[in-house]
Amino acid sequence: MARHVMDFERPIIELEEKLAELKRLEIAGMPELASEIEGLEAEIERLRQTLYAALSPWEKVQVARHPERPKTQDYLEMLFTDVVELHGDRHHGDDEAIVAALATFDGRRCVVLGHRKGKTTKENIRRNFGSPHPEGFRKAQRAMKLAEKFGLPLVTFLDTAGAYPGIEAEERGQAWAIAECLATLSDLAVPVVVVGIGEGGSGGALAIGFGDRLIMLENAYYSVISPEMCALILHKDASRAAESASCLAMTADDLVRLGIADEVVKEPLGGAHREPEVVFARVAEAISRALTELCGSDGAALAEKRYARLRAIGVVAEGE
């Protein structure tokens, strides 16, 4: 298994490799290594605790981008049943970077939206690495309106580096498509539960990324700008992304602190990809709680509350 290794976990990986070698030697007839092996195992565990349990924002970004991290389609498959995918924006195309579906969560009929990255290069090319074009947002808007029309709660999964900054995307009105999603979502008369599962890149995430509840995975991020781009602007040096990541208040904990996110779902040590089942169960539990709380309300009241919630975001001084 050629597991993807993140920079900051390289020391652990090296020790793990050494451990594997020792174990081979032991089996091959060197039982005297047993205590050394035991020591190394303890060291690895300590290192793991040290490294994984206190990831820096930039390290979390690495985890959020980990190729083996569970993706929207995994949550759709593991948490939902009776999935009927809805294709197309009825204007231009079907953007595979965003999935829209009718899906049932624990017996509850929902509309699901999510950014969809690929798991293979081929998939990623088709899905543009999860960066939507305008038709993706317009499909999402269409699904939102369908949800509203029939009183279906909306559950969305965020995992995008951002809306695609391409020529055709601009020609087809990327800004317009995002803005219309925002307007529609802001006033949608059904419950909206948002789950940040990986990357939350700027306007492309926000277009389907706010609602009545925002559940963030521990290592998911959500940011106004990518740390690299921020570093490029501030320092003219993208490699100073780690610094930017620390400044931007983009981690799950930051979002709770700022009053934007409601809760953080703990990930297994090392990231969601290490024990996906645990993550699915925890996310399911969080969604379940949110839907149970929200589904009793009447649509207009939900929209009103959502506005009040949005209205309160921001920190200003009022002089004069």
């Binding site: 009776d82 009183g151 008369a189």
Partner: protein, 294 residues
């Protein structure tokens, strides 16, 4: 656009027996699949919902077979069976419209190009309609327009969903402007159902073109299409003649349309009934009291 392309559509039909309609074929007749060229026993075909067991080619289906396929057993109760076309313009070019009507009735055993009625699909009360291409290319005249409009109105009155399976060459030119206006009338009825927040699901079958596509057929909440179905506004021959360009591969097929964002899903016929039932589960299964103003 009128039925200017049912010539083309006829060419595109992939069976080789004179009449496509399952109901016309006595058991024991052999049919050749125009797609894979296999020779098929028509009884087997009918039992397999008219999908070729070798290549999955979807043969056209007539309206009674469609109803039998989709409606829960014994649930169908036809409405407006006696509503038929007349000849308001005394249309008589090439051949009198009355003659075309008589022939269509005889050939299809139907009174008009669409059957409508109350039904259940997966237990959901619906108004179900199915068009029949054997009836003057399932073109839409006053009678088809009226039956479709009544289907929407009945659904609203009885709080049912609407499910329509379309197939049509377009407007029925023999009724002139009366026929064109049915596009507006049926669209208006669909719009009123939408305002009442009742579900409408359409299934675009081969071929759906012209005035039916450009009106009620695509105004559904969820638009499904059958694999390989030709769906469009202008028929392919007209497009070719007008633009003098060769048509892109797969032009106006259901799959092409899905790629261009126009249909929600292409559903193979064996999955159609359960897909419709599932979609209706959703569109009638909301947990929130309708509150939006849209």
């Amino acid at each position: 656009m009128p039925i200017n392309d049912w010539f083309k559509a006829r060419e595109n039909r992939k069976y080789t027996v004179t009449s496509s309609a399952s109901g016309d074929l006595p058991d024991g007749v052999w049919v050749k699949c125009a797609s894979c060229k296999h020779t098929l026993y028509q009884g087997d075909l009918a039992r397999g919902a008219w999908v070729c067991p070798h290549c999955a080619h979807h043969f056209e289906m007539n309206a009674p077979d469609r109803v039998a396929l989709l409606a829960d057993d014994g649930s169908f109760e036809e409405t407006d069976a006696g509503l038929t076309s007349v000849d308001p313009l005394r249309f008589n070019a090439a051949k009198p419209y009355t003659e075309s009507l008589a022939k269509a009735r005889e050939k299809s055993g139907l009174t008009e190009a669409i059957i409508t009625g109350r039904a259940a699909i997966g237990g959901h009360p619906v108004v179900l309609g199915a068009m029949d291409f054997r009836f003057i290319g399932a073109s839409m005249g006053s009678a088809v327009g009226e039956k479709v409009t009544r289907a929407f109105e009945l659904a609203e009155a009885e709080q049912r969903a609407v499910v329509l399976v379309t197939a049509s060459g377009g407007a029925r030119m023999q009724e002139g402007m009366l026929s064109l206006m049915q596009m507006a009338k049926t669209s208006a009825a669909a719009e009123r159902l939408a305002r009442a927040r009742l579900p409408y699901v359409s299934v675009l079958a081969n071929p759906t073109t012209g005035g039916v596509t450009a009106s009620f057929a695509v105004l559904a909440d969820v638009v499904l299409a059958e694999p390989g179905a030709l769906v469009g506004f202008a028929g392919p021959r007209l497009v070719e003649q007008t633009t003098r360009q060769s048509l892109p591969k797969g032009f106006q097929t259901a799959e092409f349309l899905m790629e261009h964002g126009m249909v929600d899903a292409v559903v193979p016929r064996p999955d159609l009934t359960v897909t419709l039932a599932t979609v209706l589960d959703y569109l009638t299964g909301g947990c929130v009291a309708a509150g939006g103003a849209s």
